[in-house]
């Protein structure tokens, strides 16, 4: 009996609603945050990530009302990402009831932020999101401001060095978003995740590329990640969490199963 691998639906939030679409344009309203969060929790999601897509590009603070509503409603952990640039902003989100906060672009702009957050709240609260893409020379490097395609910038630091660095600063978990596979639904970037796994001693969560249950089996088995995050396949209903967990268990992956839902 050991630690279970985690299945983590990611919900994009804008103006208090769950939306889907490309990160910045053409958003389709997917519904009420609390009812979707409650549904995923009941179906056996191990954790939820809420990505506030309005927050980061414009530098707006996360609107906390929905964080409190989610915290009241669900009994599984959740993480809030987007727009958190300071200890004060993080504190407000955590006190509203989030279990973890995730920083991405602000950490690339001011890496001390990771240290400050870890000192203030403990490493277990501090997730660093990393957007990574393979450059033409074959090296994975990080990107910032990926919420807005027009503003996205490539940075000179390699993904492996960045992952090492943020751990030294106090990251308690890394979410690696492999941009090359994101949205294509052809599977996680197992090669890249396995490489990052070698330098990542804190929990590592795979993001980008999930399209079928087999992709989850592969990423747990071949990249040894601790969690797998996905959005579209869950929101669309293409993959249902109870069936996914049964498939993973059959493949020998340790997962948490929940009792069959009673209507």
């Amino acid at each position: 009996m050991t630690l279970a691998r985690r299945i983590i639906p990611c919900l994009d939030v804008r103006d208090g609603r769950v939306v889907k679409g490309t990160r910045f344009r053409d958003h389709v309203d997917m519904g009420d945050i609390v009812s979707l969060a409650t549904r995923y929790a009941r179906e056996g999601a191990d954790e939820l990530v809420f990505y506030d897509i309005t927050a980061s590009p414009e530098g707006r603070a996360v609107d906390l009302d929905w964080v409190t509503q989610v915290s009241r409603a669900i009994d599984i952990p959740f993480c809030v990402a987007g727009g958190i640039r300071s200890v004060d902003a993080a504190r407000a989100v955590l006190h509203a009831g989030a279990d973890k906060i995730s920083v991405n672009t602000p950490a690339t702009q001011r890496p001390e932020l990771v240290t400050e957050l870890a000192d203030a709240f403990g490493v277990q609260c501090v997730v660093v999101g990393v957007d990574s893409l393979r450059d033409e020379d074959g090296v994975w490097r990080i990107r910032q401001l990926t919420g807005n395609p027009d503003a996205t910038r490539a940075l000179p630091v390699t993904t492996l060095d960045w992952v090492r660095h943020v751990q030294e600063r106090g990251a308690g978990e890394i979410v690696l978003n492999c941009m090359g596979s994101d949205g294509v639904r052809q599977g996680y970037d197992v090669q890249q995740l396995a490489a990052v796994r070698q330098v990542c001693h804190v929990p590592l969560v795979a993001s980008g590329g999930a399209g079928a249950p087999e992709h989850f089996v592969e990423v747990f088995r071949d990249a040894d990640v601790d969690g797998a995050l996905a959005a579209t396949v869950f929101h669309s209903g293409d993959i249902e969490i109870p069936a996914l967990k049964r498939r993973l268990a059959e493949a020998g992956v340790t997962v948490r199963t929940v009792p069959e839902l009673t209507a």
């Binding site: 630690l3 985690r6 915290s71 009994d75 929940v258």
Partner: protein
Amino acid sequence: MSLRVALVDSGGTNIGSVSYALERLGATARLTADRGDILAADRVVLPGVGAAGAAMRRLRELDLVEVLHEVHAPLLGVCLGMQLLFGRSAEDGGVQTLGLVPGSVEPIRADYGVRVPHMGWNALTELVDDPLLAGIGEGERAYFVHSYAAPVGPSTLAATTHGDTFTAVVRSGLRWGAQFHPERSAAVGARLLRNFLTEVDR
């Protein structure tokens, strides 16, 4: 439910979540650092997220160390709150903690390829028969997030394994502790909290 539940204002960031979890069970918890409130309560919950050194400093500043020793009602420490019940924590270079439960807290060893922090849903094993664990079965999973842990000892009611095997639930007299987060552990956590409210002093 008309129980008076005191939620000790230990400064941790999970105070809201614990309070909401109690609300979902129909209880109302009063967030307090007041001696009178705490000693008058039917149940006392000590939450906590963060580091042992800062948490103990805060309890001392609020004059709560002695108060917690005077509590006669059932007391439940959650996560760091559980770790504070022991006598000593190795965190922050070594911290003297409340000493309400025998034992001490050590760093989780990142041996055997396990990742630290221990983060996620792990199985409760070696369960001891206790009202706090009524209805919770061997192997059921709860949500853990921590980098320090208490070795298994005579007070351990349930264990979990992440590299080493350590204490997941502990009891000494009417003081209980859960290393995992019952407020974030779905049905298992809700059952533990409900047991704490309704079963432990029967």
